[in-house]
Symmetry: C3
Subunit: 369 residues, 3 copies
């Protein structure tokens, strides 16, 4: 991949979004879908089944919306073969309509094209290297020995520290911070406000005195926290997506690692030295404490937590706001918490929970292992 | 509203805060309150009942602080008529002292005045329009076709993407990101680090093969995530407030919507296509998953969660750290979770919870519906 | 402390990281540790027991890693005397090996040195004062009457509002926002995306009409939120550390306070007028609601919550994702929640929880106090 340091020039940020028109037959051909109905129908955008207008393409994946088929104004609907039997309009038949829709919709996405070049208002260390066809927006800082590879886009206000790599085709949307030693694979998408490579939360309680490693003449003083230097980096695999305001700490000694195709929603916290397997997805506000290891193809629900130093095997689902307090060795779905109730009922049941052990003993409950 | 593109000029950011002095009689007159005591007492600021000094105004709303009335040094106290009977100082009587205090305190707020104009260090797309009397601070980017309306203030380091509208009288304090297609009504206040309009978390698992919409010659490969394009925007009603580091994703196809006067605290996550009714307030770290619909005048407690595609009717209170897993059709207060206990007791009770169903069956419990 | 306003000049951001080599004997001498084995062994960096290479120093603190001692390639290992008895390599004996390692590792930390000076691209109010030997990076804004003291480092993209103080030796890594009236003590370290001093979440529901403090001719209208002005500041003690994307709101009237040596991880929310005692540490995603008061030497687990206006005494441990709903008067460990289970078992037990009070009554349970 040819990369070079580009002279600082002011470049236009965006060009006008393209508009595209395709016939249903063209879409069927392009995506390997079966066409039902009029292949000449034109499509210039997408909409929901309920509100799409003529000229728009919609999809039906969730059976609960099937009744909307009769009224939809969408010109073309992507659906399963089963659902098409009594549909009089134009349909594209897909085994997985949501996957097909994902591909189709990308055709109509007015994603702004960013011209290659480096905005005049950037602050780039002389030892950093930016590929010729990369885009670096306004008010971006890039630190020593860092590298921005082919076709990458660094949006306005990003800060890239020292010794970082932004791989080919990556996009840092805006206001993203890579603190130090953060290496992104190819096509990684990082949303605004995400912070990768901040120091992990490593603290030792210094109780003073000799032989703790303090100077021999340490004043006794009161016990206080000693920061444990955080020296590792962050390694992000190809095709990962990192949500807005998500934080991924650098490792203490070795790296924090996300394998390829890991998908993190917004406001997620990943502690130092965590390792997340390929294709795992985590929903908003979930958190993983230091040195935990999560497998491949896991789904971690919103607001769920994983304690430190645990291992979770492949294909584990953790439901929303559950807390994982021990390693999980078997694939499957796991939960904690209690159901939502009206507050009055909840108070009564919660009061009983406080006495549950005593109650079970009184009523002759065996002590469970 | 007359708006125009303003030439780039360097402007001073702030002027000196004003200082104001009012007599108790003037305050009573201005806010329609009943005066008890000496109307000539001068007030130049506000304080707490416990620590206010002479010249300051305090308030008494929570009965538990009533005992502080006897010792307060505040020159004027806002309170209910009931509380004033044995108070020898100067009082302003209000039916709702906290509301009255909110208005009174605003008189003394040293909110910096920002001179109209655009800082020299901004990067504004030629197609963007900024009102003459708007303020745009240092290191701000504004994208194509975006509009900043009369009297709005864009603080330093904000990024406004393409096709956004910042309504009249809005304030983006600092470091706020509006990614794309974000439209704010009038007088919306957005605190630092908030990200509006980032992509929603839309993913389809592509298992490969034909008729999923992939190219017919798709290599089998291993199943992987496919990003579903996020094409919608974010629509924020008048008088909303968005807390620091809060995230509101753009809709997948249609918009994510906050109606007027919605108040979001810090670190909140709002998923794509969520709809929040007017006057609803959400406390810090709460989260709403995609396509959920929350009614008007709801109160969502700190750290609470709402799963996707649910509906919550008007006037629902969800207590802190509760998880809403089904739609709520009746106004009222709802909770989940268990009470806090010392860890030893908690462990015993929690162990019993794991065996609760077995225990109930053993002791002849009926299976509940 | 001599401070002065420094002329705007462009300065290089970093110098090359130092590399250091020490013998085991030098390290023993410097840190007051007992040497076992060959004092001439050279160390130039640190590693984990499992993966360290020759020339690296590792540590053994957690007994579960003791078996790794036999295979380690580390040239020197820090450990307790007990663990050294059957170790044939070079050891440094410490009473607390983790504390000793924290000090030792700092020797090898390639922390970039930042040259004193102010980057050319900053926007600094004329009334602000920056110490001669402070470093102010690119795209930084500093507001009126603010002060940056000796040796402080303000990284790229930080926004410092009006009336703030950044004490001697502080570091704001990058993209940190101090909104207004935020005063940091000495050696405070603030990670990227943190927002200190945003408005607290103060709202009063204005139901309209006279004697609420609204104008006497208030239109009836519908009840709506009234913002309560937030006039206080934030006061952060010496040696505090504030994590990435953490938020600490300014007080409503008085200050929000963190005493010395408080350590906050990432994504934490601290409400207005909270007071946190010295040496308390809070893990990621925890939250404290307004006016709560937390003691000294507390440990708040990840995702845990503390409701408003509560008091927690010194030396309290709250486990992860627990919710504190009442004041805690006794030191100790506290928890709430339920254990993680496979989802099928959890559903059965959770359904029983909804009927727990009824069940206990039916089976003759006494009503607990």
């Amino acid at each position: 991949m040819p990369t070079t340091s580009v002279p600082t020039t002011s470049v236009p940020t965006t060009s006008v979004p393209r508009t595209s028109v395709y016939s249903a037959a063209q879409l069927a051909e392009r995506f390997g879908l079966v066409l039902h109905g009029d292949g000449a129908v034109q499509v210039h955008g997408v909409g929901t089944l309920a509100r799409a207008e003529a000229g728009q393409l919609a999809f039906l994946a969730n059976p609960k919306y099937r009744s909307q088929l009769a009224q939809t104004s969408a010109s073309v609907v992507v659906m399963r073969a089963d659902d098409a039997s009594d549909f009089s309009g134009t349909a594209l038949i897909a085994r997985d309509p949501y996957v097909a829709f994902a591909r189709l919709a990308a055709l109509f996405e007015p994603r702004p094209r960013h011209a290659p070049g480096i905005h005049a208002s950037t602050d780039i260390d002389p030892s950093a290297v930016v590929a010729n066809d990369a885009h670096v927006g306004a008010f971006v800082s890039i630190g020593a020995r860092s590298r921005v590879e082919a076709g990458a886009r660094i949006g306005p206000g990003c800060v890239i520290g020292d010794d970082c790599v932004v791989g080919a085709g990556c996009e840092l949307v805006a206001g993203v911070t890579l603190v130090a030693r953060v290496r992104l694979g190819q096509r990684v998408l990082v949303h605004p406000g995400a912070v990768l490579g901040a120091d992990g939360f490593g603290l030792a309680m210094d109780r003073g005195g000799v032989q703790t490693g303090g100077p021999q003449n340490d004043a006794p003083g009161e016990p206080h926290w000693l920061k444990v230097p955080q020296l590792g980096g962050v390694l992000i695999g190809d095709d990962c997506e990192i949500g807005a305001n998500t934080t991924i700490d650098r490792g203490a000694i070795e790296d924090t690692v996300l394998e390829a195709d890991v998908r993190l929603d917004n406001q997620i916290q990943i502690g130092h030295n965590v390792h997340i397997g390929a294709h795992t997805a985590m929903a908003g506000c979930s958190a993983v404490a230091g040195s935990a290891r999560i497998g491949r193809y896991c789904l971690i629900g919103g607001g769920a937590g994983v304690l430190g130093h645990l291992e979770i095997c492949d294909k584990v689902v953790v439901t929303a706001m559950s807390l994982v307090t021990a390693s999980i060795r078997e694939p499957g779905e796991y939960s904690s918490g209690t159901p939502l109730m009206d507050n009055r009922s909840w108070r009564k049941n919660a009061a009983r929970f406080k006495q549950l052990d005593a109650f079970v003993r009184r009523t002759g409950g065996r002590r469970e292992p």
